[in-house]
Amino acid sequence: MSIDYQKLALDYVRSPDQAAPRPAHHPVVVVGAGPVGLAAAIDFAQQGVRVVLLDEDNTLSTGSRAICFAKRTLEIFDRLGCGERMVQKGVGWNTGKVFFRSELVFSFNLLPEAGHHRPAFINLQQYYVEGFLFGRAQELPSLDIRWKNHSLDIRWKNHVVGVIQGPDGVEVTVETPDGEYRLHCDYLVAADGARSAVRKLLGHESKGQTFRDRFLIADVKMAAEFPAERWFWFDPPFHPGQSVLLHRQPDNVWRIDFQLGWDADPVAERQPERVIPRVRALLGADVPFELEWVSIYTFACLRMERFRDGRVLFAGDAAHGVSPFGARGANGGVQDADNLAWKLRLVLDGSAPDALLDTYAAEREFAADENILNSTRSTDFITPKSEASRTFRDAVLQLAKDCAFARRLVNSGRLSVPSTYADSPLNTADADAFAGPMVPGAPSADAPVRVDGRAGWFLQQVGSDFTLVYFGGGGKMPAEHLQAFCALGEGTIPVRTVIVQPSGTKPGRIGGMRVLEEDGLVTQRFDAQPGTAYLLRPDQHVAARWRRFDPDKVRTALARATCNG
């Protein structure tokens, strides 16, 4: 039986903590069970960190909200054990089309090459994403043994109303239907959204630029023949002077996003008698449809100055906000969680200093700036702020039809791609010459591999721990390399080794190391040669790379990547 995630009401369960004489202690408390808080909590639990997840409500996302989930986010969901379910339910797409008035001016493919497990994007209603993450959280082993050794404890209708930081922890006051109780934790992760209560309680603000424009989301249910592509119109005849976006979601639901302008009345415009004629103008009078969800929104591009305040880490919309063009909100937030979980785990278990958490803030503040820059530029193109800006916009769109250069200027949203932390202090600078995008700080590329003779994907074989990727080139493995790989696996911070070999070499294991066979795409995408080695972080970003494997250099790079250097 399928679950109606829109109607799902989760039970408030009284926790034994509420009757404790002194505030119960937990290593990590995460506030906010949206996509970011759930992803963070699952990541902590998978890595063996006990975590309590608090949410003020007891339902999942109201309405479809964030519908576009990017390739990188899906790869993170794969690592969290629920990517396949998302992709099975979601509508995959790679192609976008841009129309100006009634003409197609160009189309673009966000993933023009083969050999990737995940598409550029899937569209999936946020309530499914949250529902599947919640489902995954429930599957985590030992969850059913309450308070014995379970690792992930989700508490609904637990509203944070007080946060006090001390030198050795954070005290959180939580309001529930049974009254208030207090919790103590080593670290607090605030993933409680754009109106973050934790942020307010600590006296912080998220600052930036608010845009004077209003948009209408109409999710309609219909049996339509439009392809699974992102269609964007500038100034179409059915909605003159404004922009419109059409996008397919699962269950025959279509997202239609109408720009309305600043003067639109947000109350009147959400009434069906206003919305239905707008939808009819797009679809034609004879296409039957039902309104599934209607919302009027405005937006701002903003961020907190620092994503870390002592023992409190801010993630997702609590830390930063973007315009929706480019799908950089939820995707950026899930990448925050991906960056934070392994760092906090190493700090909690004493194998990395507290300074590692500063790099969470630095790397994700950098990423937020990138997302804000891109989404601000898109917004300026879509909703020009001056006559001159509108004139140039229209000039670009007119030229785009037959001038390739102008198509590069059309900006209907620069769609979410992960940040390369090129200037991160965790990177070890290249000492050898490499070509291509897999620079230190970059997220790993994916490619097809075979493991024990079975087809799989490179990214499924790396992550959650540090991984050394060694390109064997099919030759005989020197015995001292194998000993060194084993030693790396037994360090304080273990490094797992995977060996990439050309197809046709003997499958299985070499000296206990996992062997990935491949037809050349991994080698190509990593610009590898026989003997090349990459050190990947637990979040699959590149920490260091060499043309020749040297265990001392790996140890030095590992120390640097964990602030132990």
Binding site: T391, F392, D394, A395, Q398, L399, C403, F405, A406, L409
Partner: protein, 65 residues
């Protein structure tokens, strides 16, 4: 480096053609034509440093309204 020395062989012919290109257009249409022209020429030049110098030069002596 932005070249501000004479570079057009027949300057009067060019100027006449530029004005002719706007014949019969409203101010709004002229603005659109100019914008398209700027974009085409900017792409032809390509060098962002030169384009930046040209934008700065063009802005000289124009105070914000």
């Amino acid at each position: 480096m932005l070249d501000t020395e004479p570079n057009i062989a027949a300057p009067d012919d060019f100027y006449e053609a530029l004005i002719d290109a706007h014949r019969g257009l409203s101010s709004e249409q002229s603005a659109l034509l100019n914008a398209k022209l700027v974009l085409l020429l900017a792409n032809h030049i390509g060098d962002f440093g030169v384009l930046r110098q040209a934008m700065d030069k063009a802005r000289e002596g124009i105070a914000p309204a």
